[in-house]
C-alpha cells in the first residue's frame, strides 16, 4: 500500500485491537471511576454510553475455542454468541461494567437473557430494546422511551445523570465519526484507495468500536489531512465486487484476504453497517427522539425490517455506486436472518443479471483452500 497515511492509520487501529485490554486500561487510568460498557452487534446507540461518561466497547467475538460456553448454548448457533459467551466465562469481559444487547434475532435475544441469568454477578446486563420494525409510526415514540430507560440505567451505573448537553456532545462526536467513515468508503472507491483490502477496512472500522470516539475522529481526520497529498495507488487490479453479510459476526482477516488473492477487489461492503447506518442524527429538539428517529430511518439489514425499504434495494445501490461486477453474499453459519434473505437476494440479483456467489463462514477460518477455490472460480466467471 503506497499510501503512508493509510498505513499509519491502519497500524494504530491494529495495535489497539491487538491488545484491547491495554487500550481500555489506559483509557480508564485517565478517568478514575469511569465505567466501560460492552455492547453486542449489530448496533447500540453508543451516544448514550458516552454521554454517561463511559467507554462503549463492541463485543464482536473472536476465533476462541469454545468449551465452557457449551454448558449454556447449544452448538447449532452462530459462533459469535458462543465465542462472546466463552470470553465472558473465561473472564475476558471482567473489565466491563455492563453488557448491552440489541434484540436483533432469536439467538441474541435469548443469549442476552442467559447472560442476565448467569453473568449478572460479573457485570450489569441489559437489553437496548430496539424495535424490530422500522416502519411503524409508533416505533419512534417507543424507542425514544426505551432509550430514556436505558439512559437511566446507565446513569445509575455511572453515578451521574445524562444531561441533554452531554448527549448532544456525544451525538456530535458520533455523527462526525460516521461522516468520516462514509468519507473513507468514498475514498476507497477512488484510485487512491483502490489498494485497500477488505481485511484492512475491517480493521479500521472495528477500531471504531473500541476507540474513544473523539480519539477515533482525530485519527480519521489526520488520515484525510495527510492522504490528500498521496499519489494514486497505481494500476488497479482485481474484479470489482460488493460483499454483503458483515454487520454482525466477523470473518477472520485471513478469510477476508482470500478475496484479493482470488483476483477480486471489494469496492463496497456492509462491514459494521449497523453502527454506521444512523448517519447524521439531528441536533435540535429531544436527543432521545432524534436518535430513535435516525434509527428508524436507517438502512434495512437482514436483522431490521422496513416494508418500504427492502434490503435488496440497498445491495443494488451499492453495486451501482461502485460499478461492481458481482456480489458475494456472506452468511454466518447458523444465521437465520441471512439465510432467509439469501434466496430472495439471489433472485433479485439474477433479475438484474448481476452474478453472485454465497459463502458461509465461522469466526474460526478453518481451512481456506475451499474458500479460495470458490472465490477464484467466481472471479473466473466474471472475467
Amino acid at each position: 500500500m503506497s499510501n503512508e497515511a493509510f498505513s499509519s492509520l491502519l497500524q494504530r487501529c491494529s495495535e489497539a485491537l491487538a491488545d484491547r485490554r491495554s487500550y481500555i486500561e489506559t483509557w480508564k487510568a485517565r478517568r478514575p471511576g469511569a465505567k466501560v460498557v460492552g455492547y453486542f452487534p449489530t448496533y447500540v446507540p453508543t451516544e448514550l454510553v458516552i454521554a454517561a461518561g463511559a467507554l462503549p466497547v463492541g463485543m464482536w467475538g473472536g476465533p476462541v475455542a469454545v468449551s465452557r460456553a457449551n454448558a449454556y448454548i447449544q452448538q447449532y448457533t452462530c459462533s459469535i454468541v458462543r465465542s462472546t459467551t466463552e470470553y465472558a466465562l473465561k473472564g475476558t469481559f471482567d473489565i466491563l461494567d455492563a453488557a448491552l444487547f440489541p434484540p436483533i434475532c432469536d439467538a441474541v435475544k435469548l443469549v442476552s437473557s442467559i447472560w442476565n441469568l448467569d453473568f449478572s454477578d460479573r457485570f450489569l446486563v441489559d437489553m437496548v430494546n430496539l424495535p424490530e420494525r422500522l416502519d411503524s409510526t409508533a416505533s419512534v415514540e417507543y424507542l425514544g422511551a426505551e432509550l430514556q430507560r436505558v439512559g437511566d440505567t446507565l446513569a445509575g451505573l455511572c453515578g451521574q445523570p445524562i444531561t441533554d448537553a452531554a448527549l448532544r456532545a456525544a451525538i456530535t462526536s458520533c455523527n462526525r465519526m460516521r461522516s468520516l467513515q462514509e468519507e473513507l468508503y468514498r475514498w476507497r472507491r477512488t484510485a487512491a484507495g483502490a489498494g485497500v483490502s477488505l481485511a484492512q477496512m475491517q480493521t479500521v472500522l472495528q477500531a471504531g468500536t473500541l476507540f474513544d470516539s473523539d480519539e477515533y475522529v482525530a485519527l480519521l481526520e489526520a488520515f484525510f489531512a495527510a492522504s490528500g497529498l498521496a499519489t494514486s495507488a497505481g494500476k488497479v487490479r482485481g474484479l470489482p465486487v460488493v460483499v454483503t453479510g458483515l454487520p454482525c459476526q466477523q470473518p477472520h482477516a485471513s478469510f477476508l484476504d482470500v478475496f484479493e488473492s482470488s483476483g477480486l477487489r471489494v469496492v463496497n461492503d456492509d462491514l459494521f453497517l449497523g453502527m454506521r447506518a444512523c448517519g447524521q442524527i439531528a441536533m435540535d429538539g429531544d436527543p432521545y427522539a432524534n436518535i430513535a428517529r435516525a434509527f428508524t430511518e436507517s438502512v434495512a439489514l437482514a436483522t431490521r425490517y422496513h416494508s418500504q425499504r427492502p434490503r435488496h434495494e440497498f445491495v443494488l445501490e451499492q453495486v451501482r455506486a461502485a460499478k461492481a461486477k458481482g456480489v458475494v453474499l456472506l452468511i454466518p453459519k447458523f444465521c437465520e436472518a441471512e439465510w432467509f434473505d439469501l434466496r430472495y437476494l439471489k433472485e433479485q440479483l439474477a433479475q438484474q443479471s448481476i452474478p453472485c456467489i454465497s459463502l458461509d463462514f465461522e469466526e474460526d477460518p478453518g481451512s481456506l483452500g475451499a474458500v479460495q477455490t470458490r472465490l477464484e472460480a467466481f472471479a473466473e466467471t466474471l472475467a
Binding site: 477455490t373 477464484e376 472460480a377 473466473e380 466467471t381
Partner: protein, 271 residues
C-alpha cells in the same frame, strides 16, 4: 508446432493433457501425486510429451488446476471448476449441466455453449453426498466399494436412509442390518439418499440437458441410475472423465495464449 498443456494436480492423482494448436487432444497421462506437486507435474508432462515425440520447447503455455495448482510452477492457474466445465464442453458440446462427485467434494456446474462457467455450487463441508459417504457405508455393509453400485441394482425395495450425516447414517445402516434388512436394499437406499443430496445441489445451478457426470463416483452404475431417475434424463459419462480437468486446463492454456497473441480462436472438431 505449438502444444498446450493442462495439468490437474489432485490429492492422489496428477493428470496431464496436451492439445495441439487446432485444439485437439493429442496426449494424456496419469501419475500418482505423491508428496510434491512440482515433481508429479514434471513426471506427468515428460511422459505425455514422450508419447507424441515432442520436446518441452514446443509447449507454448501451461495451465495448472486442482488442489496443487499453486505449487506447479505453471504459466497460469485456474480452478478445477472452470477447467472441468471447459473439458466437459469439449467432449460433449451440448452439455449445459455438469455434476462431479469426487471423494471429498461434489460440484454442480452450469456451463454455456462456449464452455464458460455460468454458475456453480459445491458441497465439501459434509461427507454425505460425496464418495467418502459411500466408502464409509461400504465398510459398514462389508462390501467392496467397487461392488456397491452393482449390488444396489439388485434391489427392488430400497431401505430409505434418512440421516443427513455420515455418522448418523452409519449407525442407521448398522441398525437396519441388525434388523435383517437385505444388504442390496440398504445399498439402494444409500444410493438414493446420496442422489437426493447431489440432485439438490444440481437444482441450485439449474438442471439443463445435456447433463454430464464426472468424478470417481461416475464409475458407480448404481449412482448413475439413481441420479438419472431423479433428473429424468440420461447423463453423458465419458471414459475420459478423469482427464476432464486437465483437458479443460489445456484448452484454457490455448485460449490464453491465443488471446495474448491476438488471434481468433478457431473451433476444433471434436471426434
Amino acid at each position: 508446432m505449438n502444444f498446450f498443456v493442462g495439468v490437474d494436480i489432485g490429492s492422489t492423482a496428477t493428470k496431464c493433457a496436451i492439445v495441439d494448436s487446432a485444439g485437439n487432444l493429442v496426449s494424456s497421462t496419469v501419475v500418482a501425486t505423491g508428496a510434491r506437486a512440482i515433481v508429479a507435474k514434471t513426471a506427468a508432462l515428460a511422459e505425455a510429451l514422450r508419447q507424441i515425440d515432442a520436446g518441452p520447447e514446443q509447449v507454448a503455455f501451461q495451465v495448472a488446476t486442482g488442489y496443487g495448482r499453486k505449487r506447479a510452477e505453471a504459466d497460469g492457474e485456474v480452478t478445477e471448476i472452470s477447467c472441468h466445465a471447459r473439458g466437459a464442453s469439449y467432449l460433449y458440446p451440448g452439455t449445459r449441466t455438469i455434476v462431479d462427485i469426487g471423494g471429498q467434494d461434489t460440484k454442480a456446474i452450469r456451463v454455456a455453449a462456449n464452455g464458460k462457467v455460468e454458475t456453480f455450487a459445491m458441497n465439501d463441508k459434509c461427507a454425505a453426498g460425496t464418495g467418502r459417504f459411500l466408502e464409509v457405508m461400504a465398510r459398514a455393509l462389508e462390501v467392496d466399494l467397487e461392488d456397491l453400485g452393482a449390488l444396489s441394482m439388485r434391489s427392488q425395495a430400497p431401505q430409505a436412509i434418512s440421516s443427513f450425516c455420515t455418522v448418523f447414517g452409519e449407525s442407521e445402516v448398522v441398525s437396519h442390518l441388525a434388523s435383517g434388512v437385505e444388504v442390496e436394499d440398504i445399498a439402494l437406499g444409500l444410493h438414493e439418499a446420496i442422489a437426493g443430496r447431489v440432485v439438490g445441489l444440481m437444482r441450485r445451478v439449474g438442471i439443463e440437458s445435456e447433463v454430464t457426470m464426472s468424478g470417481g463416483v461416475s464409475r458407480n452404475i448404481g449412482m448413475r441410475q439413481a441420479i438419472e431417475k431423479l433428473i429424468g434424463c440420461t447423463m453423458n459419462i465419458s471414459p475420459q472423465s478423469q482427464l476432464m480437468g486437465a483437458l479443460g486446463a489445456a484448452l484454457i492454456a490455448r485460449d490464453r495464449w491465443l488471446a495474448a497473441e491476438g488471434h481468433q480462436r478457431e473451433d476444433a472438431n471434436v471426434q
